[in-house]
């Protein structure tokens, strides 16, 4: 395992996403979600790599409407846009989702930044909700579906779920060294060999 900083996670993730042709704004969103997951001790690195593979092979959807069991919606890439859409249009959304923990990260981020309350459910129960800038979730719930319901949350009282607290100490995420190297190799694809004319910028 390797210690990495949150800044490195953000930076390498968005470059990796850029290397497979994902738009700048979306790549930055994906990087922010990764950083949030790392900061809150969620497994994230393998999920990013898997999302990137699925994106490259066309097996993941970026559409809110056109998603299926076999081609689910990419919460890792579009999660933030989805929560912004639900909040601004005040609509309920349901669909097949790949890796719902990125939805949790999206809910948490928009709750903190814009004080927006949302609730995430599977077909039977509540998985997570946001209230007063905090996120509450059933951390140990076993999810047997990839079909989810996400909507604005109007309840004024807390439900009986655990409160997820932000880590207070210096967060030092540990990652699998091989996965990290793979992410860095993807990021490397966005770099350009320096030309002679531009080398002067390095104080040559």
């Amino acid at each position: 395992m390797l210690n990495v900083s949150l800044n490195e996670i953000y930076s390498e993730t968005y470059k990796a996403y850029r290397s497979i042709g994902i738009e700048w704004g979306i790549a930055k969103d994906g990087a922010n979600l990764s950083r949030w997951l790392a900061e809150h001790n969620f497994y994230f690195l393998g999920s990013i790599l898997k999302n990137a593979d699925l994106y490259k092979t066309g097996k993941i959807s970026l559409s809110l409407k056109k998603n299926t069991f076999k081609k689910p919606f990419s919460a890792a890439l579009m999660g933030l846009l989805l929560v912004e859409y639900i909040s601004s249009d005040n609509v309920k959304w349901q669909g097949y989702v790949y890796d719902y923990k990125f939805l949790i990260a999206s809910m948490a981020i928009i709750a903190k930044e814009q004080n927006i309350n949302l609730i995430l459910k599977d077909n039977k129960t509540t998985i997570a909700y946001t209230l007063e800038k905090n996120i509450f979730l059933q951390k140990d719930k076993i999810i047997n579906t990839n079909y989810f319901y996400l909507e604005p949350f109007h309840l004024k009282e807390k439900l009986s779920l655990n409160h997820l607290e932000t880590l207070k100490a210096l967060p030092v995420p540990k990652v699998n060294k091989n996965c990290w190297e793979r992410l860095k190799l993807m990021a490397f694809e966005t770099y350009v060999p320096e030309s002679e004319t531009s080398k002067t910028g390095a104080g040559y």
């Binding site: 210690n3 900083s5 800044n7 933030l80 846009l81 859409y85 601004s88 030092v172 350009v192 002067t200």
Partner: protein
Amino acid sequence: MNIYQSKINFNDDFPLRHPADVMKLDRLGSFHQTRLSFSRQLIDELISNNWKTEIIKWNINSIGTGNAVIKISSKQRIYSLVVFCHQINDDERSDRVIAEKWDMTFSLFLGIPSKEELDEMSKNLKIQELGRHLPKQLTLSRANKSVRVFNSVLNNLSEGKQPDKKMINNIGYLVRTTAVYGNGKFGIADYLPETNDNPLNKPFQAEMLTVYLIRYFSIELVNYLAKEKGKDKSITLSNEISKHVGVGNATGLGMAPFLINHQKLIHKWIQARETAISRVLSIKKLSTYNQTKIFNLIERAYLYTTQWNVDDVIQSKRINVLRKELKDISNNESLNDILNNDYPLQNVYLHFVNKISIETQEILNSIFIEPFPELLDDLTNEMGTDEQNTVAIGYKVNELIKIIKDKYSWALKIDIKKPDENFYFWYTSQAKLEPRLGATQIDHGKEKELPFDIPKQVQNALKILTKLPDDMTGAEAMILHPEIRNIIKRAIINENFPFSEIQNNLVGKKVRPIDLLRCKLSFFGATKYDPKSNLWTRITLFQGAPLPHQLQEENATEWLFPYLVNA
């Protein structure tokens, strides 16, 4: 002191300058150090909380290699600068960012490192970017000696003589850093702005503390080596000269994109500066004491410019103009009357603004702010922020179009089809993973460019938005067109944080990246900008600042415009 209890009669409703005037590269590239600069804030912190500096480990030999640990502590906090000095050949010493060896490598450490941690750092610090570093390291840095100055000072001191003041002033430092990394780079600690009790929570305070301690180390090192060489005959560097020794820095494009990538933060910095200017311009009456201070600062600024000499033709001309204009202002017969009447600083500014260069206008702003620290306390606490990750909801397409037309009119006027407006592209270099500027018609890699072509993105977004229903939400528009998310986010941030966007085409032929560097460096508190091209500059940090043993002396906070008498 709370500003509202201040005896200074300023008006907080006095208008700020317009972003369209301020956020132009020619003005940003004319900024000077102010009381708000981060190196000034650091010294204020060290003074107000009575920080103590102590060398707790000194394993340096007579040829200057080895390691040292310098502890700096307040009642609440302890940090240490870990230093490794290496022996390198003259031909290996380079300011180039691709250099692989340095005279000295450093890290600011949280607390005091254990033996195991020092051992780990001894392996990794010397290889800098190629190493993996500890989460308790707050910064990572390296420096080379200015060999000519260092050796001359060493030889003189060892023979019992003070060095030539002219040489000290011309160079300004004993060592020159080539990078000071912070905020999570290469495995070091992330910057955590939410920890309010941390004295380093304000922007770049960890980096500034690192450089300040490097400066102290460089003086201690030369004194030590002089003693080793000259024994009883040797002396130490005088307080006067020591105080004029700063730390050099060679800065290239690596730091330029920061101003584009951190919109809210840049807004905070510029807004704080502009608010400070507006507050002092709104002062109705100046005491005789403060009138004298303003006079003295104009004179001091003039003296500073007489010792600011560079080879760069453009900057040299600007300094000559600055020098002449400061002298003219200082000698102007009406200055005394204006300062003695109502709204003195505003009227000084209005009296001269149309007759002086932007460089002089901005040095006047630094002068005007300087005597009034009590008006700035709240502003220094407002210069940090978290960047926003989500796009503010509630905007409809017609509102986004209005924002673009209002806030980005400068970008809509640019003919992005002209080759000169696409002359450059920004990219990340493979060699050092740092930003560089490529020529579109010459260099490869345009397809991997960084998104700094703001006018092009703005114009494309406007085309897309005008084809969508007016009442569609911004979120839905971005779902349909993810390619506009980056610029829509920027535009909405700019709507709420008006100093967050530089209003020039950063890929156009006329762009001078050196202006971006100078703006950021002015917020660091750099002096003696010495451009080596349009792409990189040398500067000096902490020149004139009090040394650790001088921090509690009278007027220790006042070190704007360093000047060495008889140099």
